[in-house]
Amino acid sequence: MKRDFFSRFGGGVGHALFPVDEAAEWIKEEFPREQDSWRRFKRVVYALYLRQLQRQLKGEYAGFVWLLVEPLIMIILFTLMHTVIRGSSSSSYDIIVFMGSGMVPFFLFRTILTSSLRVFKQNRPLYHYPQIKPFDAFIANAFFESSLYAVVTLILLLLAFLIGVDIIPQNFDGVMVGILWLILFGMSWGLLLGVLGHFYEVIIKFVSFLSLPLLILSAVFFPLDTLPPVARKWLLYNPLVHFMEWIHGSYLVTLDTRYVDFSYMFEWTVIPLFLGLWLYNKSERKFIDS
């Protein structure tokens, strides 16, 4: 290609010695396009993922313990509360399983969302490499948090198994679909709010503040069916409620999933996803260029 270029436009390289625009047209066609951008993406995400894993295992060991302890405390706490208030024999399903299948997915969602808010800023030094884009850091982070929670889930399931709880989900496929969709849901909102939060710090503060009310308002530790109809109607505006109801109802089929509205969940996933992608695309250079 090099030889072609010089035979076509003469030996003169550099300032105004060759017909710039004509050459530009020629180069645009001949220049190798980024054909291997998918390979680049995979390579970079893999490298970033391992980097985050090593950091977590080295420095912040306490962080991982807390990741395990937090849902554990919540499960025990709410199970106890439930037993005290309603008595242990009142339900047809295992309360511990109910709490666990609500708490862990909820914390997974919350972690993906809140960690995405800072991921663009955190990785800024790495944008010195032309092959690393802020979006790669975002994806690697979401994968990382998800896999961390996979480990947490396995450990919690093992603990529950050891104390004699029946841990087998009754509708395994349903649970998996629910959790994978929830991850995507968390990523959509993480991307959208992460991009916005880069420009408006107040959004990050607001979302962190929101996580406790969200725990209460998302049907994490109670079935929707037990609520009075008015409360139910209002709670169903919260898309997270649909996810929680679906995961609960799939894990324990004695609970029903008739309040779950898939198209509502779909809208709340796809609209922020595309809005986030669009805004990201518009502002990518602002993340790189400080």
């Binding site: 270029f5 010089f6 105004a16 060759f18 530009a24 970079v44 090593q54 080295k58 420095g59 490499y129």
Partner: protein
């Protein structure tokens, strides 16, 4: 091959570094960049590396690129030298075995084989410097961008290795050191009055730069 088309870069409206410049750097040459302090030598490298973005115009290259200033960003203070180097290696090398070999080679060159498990924040500054150049020598890319020196404390061994490395790729070298430039570069670019002047021979670029400097002095 590096191609800049109608490139403009400014920070504030009154602080224009280059306006509407075109440049084509053919594959395989080593190009020295000359210019007064603050004329945008290192900004040009950052633009090509993609860490800064042009105000307008476009930049394209046909292959991989390593910018000397980026090596330190891969090193995380709370990670070991080896872990950070593997991260750097993975960015450029797909195959794990080859990557491990390269990491080994970098550690050897920088005399860090014994200290591979050391946290980066605890590594002494002179070894950090060595590691930077070792990484530049070992990781092969189509394009190489260097600002500042070519070796830690002008170490003979590193100078030789870097000279070899630069011959294997398209290299841009921004340095204020006359001797380094004339020794290692084929061609030269002079940045003057917001424009680029490209010369096929570094000696002519240096001559032009001297005369421009003299001219400027006479004016003031």
């Amino acid at each position: 091959m590096i191609w800049l088309h109608r490139l403009t870069k400014f920070y504030e409206k009154d602080q224009v570094l280059f306006s509407d410049v075109n440049l084509l750097i053919p594959s395989g040459v080593t190009v020295g960049i000359l210019g007064e302090n603050g004329c945008g030598k290192s900004t040009l490298l950052k633009l090509i590396a993609g860490t800064e973005l042009p105000s307008s115009g476009r930049i394209a290259l046909d292959g991989s690129l390593l910018w000397a200033g980026s090596v330190a960003s891969a090193m995380h203070a709370q990670m070991t030298v080896e872990q950070s180097l593997r991260f750097l290696g993975r960015l450029y090398i797909e195959e794990d075995r080859l990557m491990e070999e390269k990491v080994e080679e970098i550690l050897r060159m920088a005399d860090l084989t014994q200290k591979r498990r050391m946290l980066w924040s605890k590594v002494p500054a002179d070894l950090k410097q060595k590691l930077k150049f070792a990484a530049l020598c070992v990781i092969e890319t189509d394009h190489l961008l260097i600002d500042g020196g070519l070796a830690p404390k002008n170490d003979k061994f590193f100078l030789e290795k870097m000279a070899e490395r630069m011959r294997r790729s398209t290299t841009l070298l921004a340095s204020g050191n006359r001797k380094i430039l004339s020794e290692h570069c084929d061609a030269g670019i002079v940045i003057h009055n917001r424009k680029f002047y490209y010369f096929d021979a570094i000696a002519r670029a240096q001559k032009f730069f001297e005369s421009v400097k003299k001219h400027d002095k006479a004016d003031t």
